[in-house]
Amino acid sequence: MVTVENLIKDYGAIRAVDGVSFKVNKGDILGFLGPNGAGKSTTMKVISGYLAPTSGTASVDGFDVQEHPLEVKKRIGYLPESNAAYPEMTVLEFLTYVAEARGYRSKEDINDRLADVIVKCHLKKVQNQSIETLSKGYRQRVGVAQAILHDPPVLILDEPTDGLDPNQKHEVRKLISNMAQDKAIVLSTHILEEVEALCNRVIIIDQGKKVIDETPEELKARDPKLKMDEIFRELTNRNVYV
């Protein structure tokens, strides 16, 4: 569903993503790992059509992001890392705006979609509150709600459980794995246990380059004596003290 080939993205003189390639199929939950600044978010921004790649391609469902941006955007639900919404809007107003922007026009359709995500993301209690008054956990759930609102075949979630308490993390993970069967999901995270619990594939990138692409089990099997985050450190720590 998602194909990334030889993706390179430069910010001025800095190369943020350096020749990353991978494929995500229906049913996959791909965990995107890497230290801060490794190029995770940049890769996700290119796939979602927000940034243009310097070279290389990204395509969704056969549509190239550069050539058919709107077709790609229709098929993707995207949770940005900044997760910025419009602070003065209430949750309902915001989700209605997203639904309209997603092409739902009739009142029934919009209410139908809203009711669905409000239940799924447990937003009933705060639906009439303005977003600026929400706690970080609720804001994050509003972000997830707008991403899954149109039931997209592809989900790109940049740190979906960031800022949530353990119970909420559990809820969001449950939500994601329930949707996984008929979707292709890419999520980035810093929490290695999340990858173990949720993903069937792991990609680690470091300094813009893909370091590994395998299953969580294979990653663990690299050195059975070590814990997962120790393996992660070994793979990505090489250049820290240079």
């Binding site: 921004k45 979602s48 059509g49 927000y50 940034l51 243009a52 941006p69 709107l70 955007k73 229709k74 993707i76 995207y78 940005p80 900044s82 910025a84 919404a85 419009y86 602070p87 003065e88 809007m89 705006y97 997203v98 309209e100 922007a101 997603r102 092409g103 707008q146």
Partner: protein, 240 residues
């Protein structure tokens, strides 16, 4: 293009979700009608709105950048632009939607000066065609000021810089062809002065408020607005 509507709705009602929109409208109307009253609305003894229109370009110069400064700068600062441009909305639709919303907001401010027109009608016997032409010209000119402000807003993520920049540009285009500038540039050949005057908002607006809806004024404001919005789209495209 049917994606203009959601952006337009979100943006237009956004002005009324915080007190800012109400404050801007109130200050605009008080300033404009106040200035008209104190500079001879009654004393002139003529049944028209010339005293109102006289100050309009100078008030627009500040009021419209204040309305337009948030259009893009705010989205960029908060990061919500990332959400906007990952929704299936083209840059063109977003630019047009935001522009139309702010334009309607400003037009609302202009229309709310209607008590002045009613007062004129009560006290005298004005030519309603000329008064309507004045309102039409105001809305048209507002579009051009706003398109300039929108470009400035797209260039930065700082609303203050966006505001100052667009006030400067709006000041320049208003001043061109005004008596003040002409007297300073008195030594230049008159052909050149006429040429400069062709770019003046003030002069084109004055023609319309006299009841002459000329092709030159219509195309001046119309083309300037469209050209600015096109620049706006190019700037946003280059930033992605």
């Amino acid at each position: 293009m049917n994606q203009v509507c959601p952006v337009f709705k979100k943006e237009f009602f956004g002005y009324f979700r915080s007190p800012v929109g109400y404050v801007i409208l109130a200050v605009f109307i008080m300033l404009l009608t106040g200035l008209a009253f104190f500079t001879g609305f009654y004393e002139s003894n003529t049944a028209n709105l010339d005293t109102l229109w006289n100050f309009l370009p100078w008030i627009f110069m500040v009021f419209i950048p204040a309305t337009g400064m948030r259009l893009w700068a705010e989205e960029k600062r908060s990061g919500s632009i990332e959400l906007l441009f990952t929704l299936p909305i083209s840059i063109t639709s977003a630019v047009v939607g935001k522009f139309l919303a702010a334009w309607l907001f400003i037009s609302l401010g202009i229309v709310l000066t209607f008590p002045m027109a009613i007062t004129t009608g009560y006290l005298g016997n004005p030519d309603w065609g000329i008064i309507m032409a004045g309102y039409f010209g105001s809305v048209l000119m507002a579009g051009s000021y706003l398109a300039i402000s929108s470009v400035c807003s797209a260039m930065t993520q700082n609303q203050v810089i966006s505001f100052v920049l667009s006030v400067l540009i709006c000041f320049a285009v208003t001043l061109m062809g005004s008596d003040i500038l002409l007297s300073i540039l008195g030594g230049l050949p008159s052909g050149l002065l006429d040429f400069i005057g062709n770019f003046s908002f003030y002069i084109h607006f004055q023609t319309i408020t006299r009841g002459l809806i000329e092709m030159s004024a219509l195309s001046f404001f119309g083309l300037l607005t469209i050209a600015s919005l096109a620049i706006n789209i190019v700037i946003l495209k280059r930033q992605s």
